[in-house]
């Protein structure tokens, strides 16, 4: 299951026709304690680079952008009750939403794990 990364610190797992999106460990660490996540509703059409979700800490709200085009198929309801999952398990249980893959070619512009690590180290 290939995982890609964006320079806005989102990750995207591709599994057949569907993909799962969340924010990276680096991103959650920068944000601090997450207190709320606003997720897109199922059926929302997302554009690559467009607003998809909002993640809030006590003093900051940050937009989460969609890594690719596609339609939201599921949002992680667990985050509603326990937004701290984004801090404790950002790249697993703290996933944000699942989406269709509208344009697989858009994945090619994203980073792989090694590329993202190098990118973060350069910040």
């Amino acid at each position: 299951m290939p995982r890609y990364f964006t320079d806005e610190h989102e990750w995207i797992d591709v599994e057949g026709e569907s993909a799962t999106v969340g924010i990276t460990d680096y991103a959650q660490e920068q944000l601090g304690d997450i207190v709320f996540v606003e997720l897109p509703s199922v059926g929302t059409m997302l554009d690559k680079g467009g607003d998809a979700a909002v993640v809030e800490s006590v003093k900051a709200a940050s937009d989460v952008y969609s890594p690719i085009n596609g339609e939201v198929t599921e949002a992680n309801g667990a985050l509603e009750d326990d937004p701290a999952l984004v801090n404790t398990s950002p790249e697993d249980e703290g996933w944000f939403f699942r989406m269709t893959i509208g344009d697989a070619s858009q994945l090619e512009g994203l980073m792989d794990e090694a590329g993202y690590k190098a990118f973060v180290d350069s910040l």
């Binding site: 304690d33 207190v35 709320f36 809030e56 006590v58 937004p83 701290a84």
Partner: protein, 523 residues
């Protein structure tokens, strides 16, 4: 200076650490004058009332049409003595200007004269209904009109909209005037330019009015980059919002050139008047080409902040914008009679282009009377002295601390009414927040933190003109000691405050599981 405290107390007089904050626990949880107070809902009762009223119920044969309340509402009451004690105890957990220096940059926490309170409570102002017939409210309209003229004269502008309820409401009023003026000339524009250092209300206001917000770049010395601004101006720009003096505490030297360039491009200049205290009586925004500026009466003109309002935000307008100002307002006729101008008589006063109405009645009358009292007390000469002393006090603080605290714009010339510092040079992982919380233990309200956004770990200190030199010296001594501890990486600062009614509060818990109303516990 031997002692940072005028009482004669000296640091070496702390006999031991223990004597300050330990000792046996108390049964009540109180610590002498530091008194814990439960919630109203834990001590009151729905059968208790502190007001004598006839013991009547809604009578049979009433006119309520069957809509009577049946279930209990759940509102406990307290007797009068209990009420006085409850709120007096609560008040003692608050810091206020009456207790000490309150150096919140951009917020102008100055002394609130009690004459203002007395005047606002005169029956002719406090006990008058906004819809009374004109013959019974002549004095109220005159007071509003007199204040309006003070504001116009002090700013060199053409007109003023008095009704906005607070600074942000005034900002909205000014931007809506600009939008109305542009629409009237058939020139819809889309962009409002706002510096990154602006108050958050600026972009929020512009966005509400339907504009897209773009940043204006700043120069290294903390002012608007005139050349970059000129390059960005064009037929799509509706307005430029500028705070002057700006939030870095500096006067925008190029203000006139900025206004000229903006006007040349067909756009208008909005000035955020939050910092008017620094320049009142020294320079008039109208002479610098400003088209609209709100004035926070609770800042410059010393109406009390009241723990978060009420504010009042009249907006002065240039000749170009005055016709679009909202209703209602007051106007004095040639005969010297002041009239209220509303929807029905706007045409009589040639004011048919008003963009509408922003609030039900005539604005914050209770704040108008306070502000007018304050202006009358100071007079034109005293207000000028206000600005001079405010600026002198801020520069004194800046130059008394800039060897220990990083002053990013310290070389940009004198500051105006506030001194800006950053957290560079702090040791360990200490932050501005830690220094601020340690100020609480020193007996001070922290300064404005992390604003403006353009300075890392910003600390914005506004002493105001109502502090004496002795009070400033004591404050500076505390700040120097704290700055030294911060530079040395004193880890204990991360735990501060130690001596306040509460230690640091868990804001994460408050936001993750919001408890916003009291609910009876399940026990």
């Amino acid at each position: 200076m031997n002692s940072p405290n005028q009482s004669g107390w000296k640091p070496e007089m702390n006999a031991s650490e223990d004597s300050i904050h330990s000792g046996p626990a108390t049964v009540s949880g109180n610590r002498a004058l530091m008194l814990e107070e439960p919630l109203l809902f834990e001590i009151g009762h729905i059968e208790t009332t502190g007001v004598d009223l006839p013991d009547t119920d809604i009578a049979v044969g009433n006119r309520l049409g069957g809509m009577e309340r049946s279930d209990p509402i759940g509102l406990p009451g307290l007797s009068e003595p209990e009420t006085i004690r409850h709120y007096t105890r609560l008040s003692r957990q608050n810091y206020g200007i009456d207790l000490g220096l309150f150096p919140l940059g951009s917020c102008t926490m100055k002394h609130n004269p009690r004459l203002n309170e007395k005047v606002a409570r005169m029956p002719g102002f406090a006990d008058v209904h906004p819809l009374q017939p004109a013959s019974t409210i002549r004095g109220a309209l005159e007071a509003i009109n007199e204040l309006a003229h003070w504001l116009i004269d002090l700013t060199g502008m053409h007109g003023v909209a008095m009704s906005p309820k607070a600074g942000a409401h005034g900002e909205l009023c000014g931007i809506l005037c600009i939008r109305a003026a542009l629409e009237a000339r058939g020139d819809a524009r889309e962009i409002v330019l706002v510096p990154e250092s602006a108050h958050g209300t600026n972009p929020a206001t512009a966005a509400f009015a339907g504009y897209r917000v773009e940043d204006i770049p700043a120069t290294d010395e903390g002012r608007v980059d005139l050349e970059a601004l000129k390059a960005r101006l064009g037929p799509d720009v509706a307005a430029v919002m500028i705070t002057n003096p700006n939030t870095c505490g500096l006067f925008e030297r190029d203000m006139k050139a900025i206004s000229d360039a903006v006007h040349e491009a067909g756009a208008l200049v909005y000035c955020d008047g939050a910092n008017f205290n620094a320049i009142v009586g020294k320079v008039r925004p109208g002479d610098l080409g400003v088209d609209a500026m709100h004035i926070n009466l609770h800042k410059t003109f010393s109406t009390p902040h009241g723990g978060g309002g009420p504010g009042s935000g009249p907006v002065v307008l240039s000749e170009a914008l005055s016709p679009y100002g909202p209703l209602p307002f007051t106007a004095r006729t040639k005969e010297g009679v002041v009239h209220l101008v509303e929807e029905e008589n706007a045409a009589d006063y040639g004011h048919t282009d008003a963009f509408g109405r922003m609030t039900a009645f005539h604005g914050q009358m209770g704040m108008f009377t306070r502000a007018l009292t304050y202006m009358r007390s100071h007079g034109a000469d005293g207000l000028r002295q206000v600005a001079e002393d405010a600026v002198l006090n801020a520069n004194y603080v800046l130059r008394s601390l800039d060897d220990l605290l990083d002053a990013p714009f310290g070389a940009s010339g004198p500051c105006m009414h506030e001194a800006l510092f950053g957290d560079e040079g702090f040791g360990g992982d200490l932050s501005t927040l830690d220094l601020a919380k340690a100020m609480i233990d020193e007996g001070y309200h922290p300064m404005t933190m992390y604003f403006p956004l353009v300075v890392h770990g910003a600390m914005l200190i506004e002493p105001t003109e109502t502090e004496s030199k002795a009070a400033l010296d004591q404050f500076i001594a505390s700040m120097r000691s704290l700055a030294e501890r911060a530079r040395a990486g004193d880890e204990s600062m991360k735990q501060a405050p130690f001596h306040a009614p509460r230690r640091r509060l868990d804001e994460t818990q408050a936001a993750r599981k919001p408890v916003l109303v009291w609910e009876p516990s399940d026990e």
